[in-house]
Each structure stands twice: as C-alpha cells, then as structure tokens.
C-alpha cells in the first residue's frame, strides 16, 4: 500500500500516452467482448441443447420435409419418451427487418419435449382451444409490445403469400436466462389447413425426447435404420450436434473469431509492451536512484508490472463497460437475428483476465530489464 503513491505518480507521468494506452485496451476489450458475445450467440444452440434430445431431419437437407407419419413410428422405438414435430414458417411481421423465428408446433407434445420453455397453464389451455392461437417468447413480445389477446398478422413467404392472422394466447419464459425467448409458435392444424396440398402432411423435423441420454446412439441408429431406403431417409443426431452443424453453415465462426481475437491480443501486447519499454527507458536514471537508496530488484520489477497491470485493468474495465452499454443496442439493431447477445458475468471475468494477462506479459520484459539494470550504469544515464 505504501508504494501506491509512487506507482500512481509514475503511471500519470505522461497523461496523453497513458490515455492512449488505456484507450487501446478499452477498444481491444470492447472488441473482445463483442466477439465473445457473437461467438456465444452462434454457439448458443449447442449450449442450451438438452442431452436427452435428438433431432431427426431429412437426410438430404433440413429444408427437405419428412412425413407426419414418421412420428408414431419413432415413438414406438424403445427408449423414446416423446416426439414432437416442427416446421419453419419464415413469415414477415410488418417489415422484413422484424425477424424472429416462427415455428409450427405439435401442441400435444411440445411441452413434454421442451419443459424448459414455460407457458402459464391458463394461457396454454386457451392456446389449445384456439385454432389461430399463438404463443410468443417473452423477448419477442417485449420487442414488439405485444400482450396476450393481441391480434398478430404475419405475411406468409414460404408457404404461400397472404396474411396469416394469429391470436396471441400466451407468452413463454425460459427456465434459465440462456433459454431462447424469441420464438413464435402456432398450431399444426391451422398451418396444415392453409398450406397447398403438395405439402400437407409434411413436417420440417422431429425432436425426440429420450428416457436416458445413454440411449442416444442406439435410438438415433434405430431411427435412421428404420427409414433407410425410403423416399424420406433420415439423419438423426443429438440436439447439440445438430445445433453445431447448423452454426457451421455460416462458416467456421469460432475459428474466425479466435483468429481476430489472437491478432487483437498480440497487437495489444506489442502496443503496451512498447509503451512500457519506453516508459522504463525514460526513467532508467530514476530506477538507478531507487536501487541505490535500497529498493530491491524484485521491488523494481513489481513496480513496472503494477503499472502495466493497472493500465490493463483500467482500460479493460472501461472497454467492458462500453461493451455492456453497446451490446444491447447492437442486439436491437440486429432485429433479433442473433437472439442471445448477452455479456455474461463469466465473460466479463474472462475479459478482465484477458486484459490482465496482456498487461502482465507487456510489463514482464521491460520489468525484467529494469530489474537487471546495474545501478552505476543507470545512474550514468540522464
């Protein structure tokens, strides 16, 4: 504590340089937080995937449908607890920028397969009674200011043009903050009444709930074997594998983000390392004086490291605060395209750790240089 004044005095010696270095940290940490949040949002599906669930899609592609009749046959396989089916609706609410995922659901099995998405009992009962009923996630409802009882018109795109009218009967919430609260569900019966005959009785994919995750491999093999050599062959995988392969369609996001992150890390390391090296070189003489009057080599190293870590901490906190303010704005601007742009506490902690590790590495070499300075050589420099 008694050395804080000396460390702070040295830190604020060149205010412009200090501000610029802190600024570099702030920008880098902002970028770090942003990339981490985007990576998290892309990987969100895999994160929340339930180990008890399998997803069965058409072997050719997810955009190819599967027959409705498969549901009962999958349900009959030992180890399967429940099966539900979904279709991607892909309609437009008011404007194409107002994106949110819309699913045609199987009301009988939806809540059994997805118990983490909670709808109040009375609202669910109303939904079941209402052929044009719909349930919206809390975030989507909040985004558009919807409340239960509202009439929601959605323009069809994939399944024939024209307005589809829905009654908002309920709003669901996720059990955990990571659960997706942006979806919009409506009933299979209403959907199948309005689609062209050629697509009637076809679903997008099945989600299978297992009795035990240990059955995943056996059941997925059993499903795919059962429908092998049929006009609608299937591909079954765990929900997390499905989510991961979905993300891969966008390219290797993780690699891209890691590459950018690594470049940022090393650039920041060079900028800060250079700043610290200049800062130490400028006061070689003063370091010599400190050593002459009895400050040990280790203490001199600690002073340099403390300065570097303080710069990193201040810049890091500033950058993360900036990110905390900007990410929700960004989420709104993206119109729900990436539904889970959340800067979690773990990510903030990781950001601080990232900043401190850069600060430590940047201060280490100049600090060791300062530590190894011979007093008589240092005192000669003016």
């Amino acid at each position: 504590m008694r050395f804080f004044r000396l460390i702070f005095a040295n830190l604020f010696r060149k205010k412009l340089r200090l501000m610029l270095t802190i600024g570099s940290f702030a920008v880098a940490l902002f970028l770090f937080a942003f990339l981490a949040v985007v990576k998290d949002a892309f990987g969100h599906g895999a994160d929340v995937a339930n180990a008890n669930r399998l997803v069965t899609i058409n072997r050719v592609s997810i955009i190819q449908p599967l027959p409705l009749s498969y549901g009962d046959r999958i349900r009959a396989i030992p180890g399967v607890q429940a099966v539900t089916h979904d279709n991607w609706f892909g309609g437009v609410y008011q404007d194409e920028r107002n994106f949110f995922p819309q699913f045609v659901i199987d009301p009988q099995n939806q809540r059994t397969v997805y118990p983490e998405l909670i709808v109040p009992e009375d609202q669910w009962k109303n939904f079941l009674r209402d052929r044009q009923g719909a349930i919206a996630g809390a975030r989507t409802a909040a985004r558009f200011g919807w409340k239960v009882g509202d009439r929601i018109p959605i323009r069809g795109v994939i399944w024939g043009a024209g307005a589809w009218e829905f009654n908002l009967d309920g709003i669901y919430h996720g059990k955990s903050p990571k659960d997706d609260e942006t979806q919009f569900w409506f009933q299979w019966d209403y959907f199948t009444e309005h689609v062209p005959d050629r697509v009637k009785g076809l679903v997008g994919w099945y989600t299978v709930k297992l009795n035990s995750p240990d059955d995943a491999l056996r059941v997925s093999k059993a499903i795919d074997t059962q429908f092998a050599n049929s006009p609608y062959e299937t591909k079954t995988e765990t929900e997390s594998a499905f989510a991961a392969s979905w993300v891969k369609q966008f390219g290797n996001i993780e690699f891209l983000i890691l590459t950018i992150g690594t470049v940022v890390f090393f650039t920041l390391l060079l900028v800060t390392g250079n700043t610290m090296a200049i800062s130490v070189r400028e006061r070689t003489n003063e370091l010599g004086v400190l050593k002459a009057i009895g400050f040990s080599d280790g203490r001199v190293l600690l002073f340099v490291l403390a300065e570097s870590l303080l710069i990193a901490l201040i810049g890091g906190v500033f950058g993360l605060l900036l990110a905390m303010g900007a990410i929700p704005v960004l989420g709104t601007a993206l119109n729900g395209l990436l539904p889970n742009l959340v800067l979690s506490k773990a990510m903030l902690g990781l950001g601080i750790a990232f900043a401190l590790s850069v600060g430590f590495c940047a201060g280490l070499l100049p600090g060791i240089g300062a530590m190894r300075l011979r007093v008589i050589n240092a005192l000669r420099r003016v």
Binding site: V289, L290, A292, I293, F295, V375, I376, L379
Partner: protein, 247 residues
Amino acid sequence: MVSVTNVGNSSALIQVRGLNKTYRHGSEMIQVLQGLNLDVDKGDFIAFMGPSGSGKSTLLNLLGGLDVPTAGTISIGSDELTHMSSSKLTQWRARHVGFVFQMYNLIPVLTAYQNVELPLLLTRLSKSERRQHVETALSIVGLTERLDHFPRQLSGGQEQRVAIARAIVSDPTYLLCDEPTGDLDRKSADEIMALIIELVDKHGKTVLMVTHDPVVAGRAHTVLHLDKGVLVEGSNFRQDAMAGGGA
C-alpha cells in the same frame, strides 16, 4: 583521523584494504584503482580530488556498495561489503548509506516531501513516524515551506537540499556526495557546503565527497588526491586550519 596507509587503525568506521578495480574494455583490461588503502573515522569529512578518469567516482561507487571490487576488502564497522550478495548489499545500502548526486536525481513526479520519504518506505515506520522523520530532515535543510513542491518548482540549490534531506532522512552511517555542487552557482554551492559542514559538525555525520572544485574541497577536513588509481595523501585542512589559526 584519515589514513591512507595499510597500517591504519582498526577502530576506523571505514577500512579499505588493497582495493583494486579493473574494467574490461574489449580485449583491454583497464585498472582504475590499484591497491588502495584507506581508514576513515566516524565524523570525518573527506574530499576526493583528481583528474577525470583517476578513479574518484569508482571509489565512491565501491564505498557505497554500488559496485564490487576486483580485489581487496571494504569494511564498514563490522560489515564486510565485499562478501555480501547483491540483494544483501541493497538492504545494507538502505540502512547505512546516504547518496547525494551532482544532478540531484529527484523523482520528478513526486513532491519534495514524497522524495524525502522514499528511503523510509523501505522501513517498518508508520505513516506518522515517517512524517516526523521527513519533516525533521526538511527542517535541517531549511525547506519546511516547500513540502508540496515538485522538483520543477524548486531552484537547483533547493533541489540539492531536498536530495540531502533524502540522504539523511534514514540517519545513515555515512554520506557519499558525488560532485554535490557541480551543477550549482557559487552562492548555491556555498550554501550547500555550509549545510554539509553543519551535518558533519553539528550532527556528527561522516561525509565522503568527490569534487573537482578546490574551493569546495577546501571546506572538507581532509582532501585526498587520486592519481591513476592510486590514493595519495593530501592536506588535512582541519589540522592545517587549527595549526594556522583559520581555514
């Protein structure tokens, strides 16, 4: 009493025996100090003079534990410097040596008070005890009104006073002054010398000083000349002054 023979007195505060210092310059070996002997008693004030390259600053660095000799021994009281490790020597310096440099060497981002307090940060003294020591040191050098001034707000003479206060604040065994007036005008130099003499005469400090200025050296009790790394006895000004009835 100062002696430069190798039979000096064993009760001397500083005892230097057979001191050699050699530097390597490329393939050439340069001998800076050659078999130097010296005894300094407590309360002595010695000025080292000599041409550039004669080894004055090297001797001061060795006496201050900033450098290690190639051969020979330096004993300060019961401590043998030449056998100490680098870290031990650093701790020893903090307790026993006060440094005054030609260019003052104050930390520019610290106030006069904070500069003087620096050596005390290495002690176990409390904040209030440190304050007491710093204020005492600054009052001795006559700068109690400038506690909160930064070095850039002080004159050269005042900066050197702060440096002297920093050197004496931890009550070291002896002071090493390397050209303490070299960067000052005559008036300021006289004031600094008056202060150093006061430290010796009134506070009983032992002072070893390097200078090029014969006038400044003339204020010391003893002047020793270094020539090509060999110490030759000079004049004992105090004894001369006592014999002659004035300095």
